[in-house]
């Protein structure tokens, strides 16, 4: 998970460079066009946006802005236009835009996949050349139209499609959790949203940045960039306006994937820090203070906290232990690696689950470090737990009633540990930073939860999900499904579906099956009595101490 944070960082710096490159272009065009074509200005000013699609590969990303600059100059040249011409042009532009939007939507998805998955470059070649060719061939109109616009068209289209299908397919008990479908592209994002945040949103959605801590860190780092590039508009103070500016970013992020508890806590702390900035402080120093605050927050609450937790949890590991863990928690990984470095000899048994297979990365990391690793899936829990001596679990959050809110399946592991046939209980140890503590309470896994896209369950191949959910093939597929009813792409789905999905899972068109529902929840709640100990950076506690520690850590 640490590496995913790194990649998040890297890509956001990519964005920065892209932006830097593209900004001259955007600077020049408006100045040339301001008098006659105001509409144009607003368009080209947004030109950094499309490049977001390709953040992962900045070679690709650096091209479009350059092209945009080229295209912008002729645009300035044919300045004198009659109103009729203008109208015609606008019409053509609109039509072209519509066409491109569809294309951009696809390539946007593919671009995200490309950035997420280092390996699979399969889907990329078809997407990019098309785009490039079209961008080169079509004149400046095409170039501009290529930008995924935040016009009403895409959102309207999806909004029309979604209810008819989703309504049928949402599991009644979880009805309250089906919000809007997750955003699939950056199309429709508000113009205030910072590129770093745009990219992060897609990474969150694709589980490239996954895991409570990683999401928290990535969000904070993205917000740091937002603050760095922020200038207070005239007539407002930083402490007031920055909060609203940030809330745009937050709204965008939450449309990509619901915010985690840790993200929420971090954002709350950040907002508090912003609000406490003295209005009289000059903007530069205020921003510096805030950036420093973010750095400190990450260091204190996560980086150092993780080290402390890993250190103290590693002490619990003894020679000859068999440690069972579920899915891929970064803090558990750190703990086990620390214990291994201390020279302890123990075995690790990783239990993993569909559809994310997070444990695979953990298994890889541990095996590379030379640990003795056993790997099995959720169906083998009772076998894995049979010779376990300890269970280490990561957390998404700890609720105020001492329950553990974590990746779905955790409760099964904890339960099995506590009800072993031999009657011997296996201690269950949860590693959790206090930033993941929340004052919310939960009794079951139904009231509070997160619903992921049910299509993730359709493909049986685990491979596709290892590096990120959206493989090069997948983005085309959901599009097909959505477009299945939209007349435009009606003939397309069938051939592509059969060719893309050679395994032809019986579920591949489950949405057409009446009464069939797929449920893909992300979390479950483990009862407090299954948890023996919560290791935090403030010490090891019983689960009942969670609310107290939470109060302490938020008040201090």
């Amino acid at each position: 998970m640490a590496d995913s944070v790194d990649s998040a960082l890297k890509s956001s710096s990519d964005i920065k460079s892209v932006q830097a490159q593209s900004s001259p272009a955007t600077d020049t065009t408006p100045s040339q066009q301001t008098q006659t074509l105001p509409i144009r200005e607003s368009k080209s000013a947004k030109s950094p946006a499309p490049s977001e699609n390709q953040t992962g590969k900045n070679k690709d990303a650096s091209k479009p802005p350059a092209a945009g600059a080229d295209a912008a100059v002729p645009a300035g040249a044919d300045k004198p236009l009659t109103p009729a011409e203008l109208k015609k042009k606008a019409k053509a532009e609109k039509a072209a835009r519509r066409a491109r939007e569809k294309l951009a939507k696809e390539s946007g998805g593919a671009g995200a996949a490309g950035s997420s998955a280092p390996g699979p470059g399969q889907g990329r070649p078809p997407a990019t050349p098309k785009k490039d060719a079209a961008g080169g061939g079509a004149s400046q109109k095409g170039q501009k139209a290529a930008q995924p616009r935040r016009g009403s068209a895409p959102t309207g289209q999806t909004a029309a499609d979604e209810p008819t299908k989703k309504e049928d397919k949402s599991v009644a008990v979880f009805g309250h959790l089906y919000g809007q479908p997750r955003r699939t592209t950056i199309a429709g994002a508000g113009k205030e949203v910072h590129p770093a945040v745009l990219a992060l949103g897609l990474q969150l959605r694709d589980y490239v940045v996954c895991g409570s801590s990683a999401r928290c860190v990535a969000t904070l780092l993205a917000f740091k960039r937002v603050i760095e590039s922020y200038t207070t508009p005239l007539g407002t103070s930083l402490s007031r306006h920055l909060t609203t500016h940030l809330s745009h970013q937050i709204t965008y992020l939450s449309t990509c994937r619901p915010l985690s508890i840790s993200q929420g806590n971090a954002i709350r702390a950040l907002k508090l820090a912003i609000a406490s900035v003295d209005p009289s402080t000059p903007e530069l120093s205020a921003k510096a203070t805030l950036c420093e605050f973010i750095d400190n927050f990450i260091r204190e609450k996560i980086t150092v906290a993780d080290q402390v937790i890993a250190g103290s949890a590693a002490q619990k590991v003894q020679d000859g232990d068999v440690i069972v863990t579920f899915a891929g928690s970064s803090i558990v990984k750190q703990t086990l690696l620390t214990a291994h470095k201390q020279g302890k000899r123990f075995r690790v048994s990783i239990i993993d689950s569909r559809p994310l297979f997070e444990g695979k990365n953990l298994a890889r990391a541990l095996a590379n470090a030379g640990l003795d690793v056993q790997y099995s899936l959720v169906h083998a829990i009772s076998h894995a737990i049979k010779d376990a001596t300890k269970v280490f679990l990561g957390a998404h959050a700890m609720t105020s009633n001492g329950r553990l809110y974590s990746r779905v399946g955790t409760a099964l592991v904890a339960m099995s540990a506590k009800e072993r046939a031999g009657g011997v209980e296996v201690p269950v140890i949860v590693c959790c930073e206090t930033v993941k503590f929340t004052d919310r309470v939960a009794l079951d896994s139904i009231v509070v939860n997160e619903i992921a896209d049910a299509d993730e369950l359709v493909s049986a191949q685990p491979l596709q999900q290892v590096t990120g959910l959206v493989d090069p093939v997948a983005p085309a597929k959901p599009d097909n499904k959505k477009g299945g009813k939209a007349a435009s792409s009606a003939p397309k789905p069938d051939p592509s579906a059969s060719s893309l999905n050679p395994s032809s899972s019986p579920l591949s068109n489950w949405k057409e099956n009446p009464n069939l529902q797929l449920l893909n929840i992300m979390y479950d709640v483990t009862p407090a009595e299954y948890v023996d100990m919560v290791v935090t950076e403030m010490g090891s506690l019983p689960p009942s101490a969670v609310p107290i520690v939470h109060r302490m850590s938020t008040n201090l």
Binding site: V171, A172, V173, S353, R354, P355, K360, A363, R364, A367, N368, D372, V373, Q374, Y375, S376, L377, V378, H379, A380, I381, S382, H383, A384, R407, V408, G409, A411, L412, M415, S416, E419, A421, D444, S445, I446, N449, L457, A460, Q461, P462, L463, V466, S505, P506, L507, W510, N513, P514, N515, L516, Q517, L518, L519, N520, I521, Y523, D524, V525
Partner: protein
């Protein structure tokens, strides 16, 4: 597997076809290799194949001496069981057939005995005499068990073959069946020689076992309405046809919701197929039930979940209905991996767990060593070979079965009705003779 290759892929279908043409020894070898290669998998396919094979074995057997027959069936049975010791139904069917031969032999013996002596000894005959005129009535499954019971009582009578019967001798004396029936054996006995008759009777008995195997799911399903009420939320696991038929039967009258755990990675494809009603081209499933309507077509809402979400949803579930691989004498079961956690989660949430299983899966084996019952499967299903770097480094486990202790099960529904787990030993003793428990 495309359906065109159906005839080529070895399995139950091809085995049954070949049975008619091949000599016995080839057929035995054939089934042994099918079992060893796990090309025959489902409990019922194994049971059916074994039953057909034994029928073949008995029918071509030159001798009609019961002792020789028993010996012959025992040797074949031992080889089959040795080929796949964890497929307990094979042993069960062999035991049933052995019991059948013994019954017939004893009946014969007694008949002679009864003929030579006075009619006083004719009582134990009655169940047999009852059974005889109605071999193909739907009742005859009950008759089977009744007969087994009767046979058990009379088991010691003959003193004919083994030392085993010596031990059970005293117990058999309390055998009077209330209706002595004056019809007695004279109706059928005098006509034919004892030996020839035994063989025919045994073949007929095996035919009944085969019939039972064919109808068992429907018989179990007939109890469905007694157990499922309206608006229930039922959780199930794997693509067991027994469970599906049970639910489908209930769905004809009641409306309920089914939550289906997909049992990744060993059975998820079949489960997906069952749930969505798009049958996989699986040779073993390509029988009539593969084409039955899925639950969703009957207006039942089916929610497919990954196995990991079982605990999260268990608080909403009213009843857990599970299929099984085999049932052990103590009431525990060997079922698809993942069943145990589900049963555990149900226990934690005080949700009743119902296991549906044909009596043929009920095995007299007592599980002293649970681990020996568990079979491990293809590790590449857990970790595909695409992750080659990992495959070398880590130890991947894919157990196919779980042992579920009896205390996690609340009710068994077999083709004989509903039973508490603690009652199963009784059904075992009804169906298998002590001599055959370790044949």
């Amino acid at each position: 597997m495309p359906s065109t290759s159906l005839a080529l892929t070895p399995g139950l279908g091809s085995f049954l076809k070949s049975l008619k043409t091949h000599p016995v020894e080839t057929s035995i070898e054939n089934l042994i290799s099918l079992l060893k290669r796990r090309q025959i998998r489902h409990s019922r396919s194994c049971a059916t194949a074994t039953a057909y094979l034994l029928r073949h074995v008995v029918s071509v057997c030159k001798t009609s001496d019961p002792l020789k027959l028993i010996e012959r069936v025992q040797t074949v049975g031992r080889r089959l069981v040795a080929a796949q010791p964890r497929e307990m139904v094979v042993g069960n069917v062999v035991r049933r057939v052995l019991g059948l031969i013994r019954d017939e032999a004893e009946d014969d013996h007694e008949a002679e005995f009864a003929l030579s002596e006075a009619g006083s000894e004719s009582q134990p005959q009655t169940p047999r005499a009852f059974d005889d005129p109605s071999p193909s009535l739907p009742l005859d499954r009950d008759m089977l068990s009744l007969r087994a019971e009767g046979a058990e009582r009379s088991s010691s009578r003959p003193t004919l073959h083994s030392m085993f019967s010596l031990l059970s001798h005293p117990e058999a004396e309390f055998s009077p069946i209330s209706t002595p029936g004056t019809q007695s054996p004279n109706g059928r006995m005098p006509g034919h020689g004892p030996g020839k008759d035994v063989k025919a009777e045994v073949l007929e008995g095996i035919g009944e076992i085969i019939d039972e195997l064919g109808q068992v799911d429907d018989q179990i399903a007939s109890y469905a309405l007694e157990h499922i009420h309206s608006n229930e939320i039922i959780l199930t696991h794997t693509s067991s046809t027994t469970v599906q038929k049970f639910l489908v039967k209930a769905a004809t009258k009641r409306k309920f919701t089914v939550i289906h755990a997909e049992s990744f990675p060993n059975n998820h494809e079949a489960t997906h197929a069952t749930v969505s009603g798009n049958p996989l081209d699986d040779d073993e499933n390509l029988s009539t039930e593969a084409f039955q309507k899925p639950l969703i077509a009957l207006g039942i809402t089916v929610i497919l979940i990954p196995d990991s979400a079982v605990f999260a949803l268990m608080s909403r579930v009213n009843k857990v209905i599970l299929g099984t691989h085999s049932v052990l004498a103590n009431g525990g079961l060997v079922a698809a991996a993942g069943t145990r956690v589900i049963a555990r989660a149900a226990k934690v949430h005080q949700t009743p767990v119902v296991v549906v299983s044909g009596v043929y899966k009920l095995s007299p084996v007592y599980p002293f060593d649970f681990d020996s019952l568990i079979e491990y499967g293809d590790a590449s299903k857990v970790l595909p070979y695409e992750d080659g770097d990992l495959v070398d480094q880590i130890d991947v486990q894919n157990p196919i079965y779980d042992y579920v202790p009896a205390e996690l099960v609340d009710l068994y529904i077999t083709n004989l009705g509903g039973h508490a787990p603690s009652y199963l030993y009784r059904i075992v003793s009804d169906h298998y003779r002590k001599e055959d428990i370790s044949f």
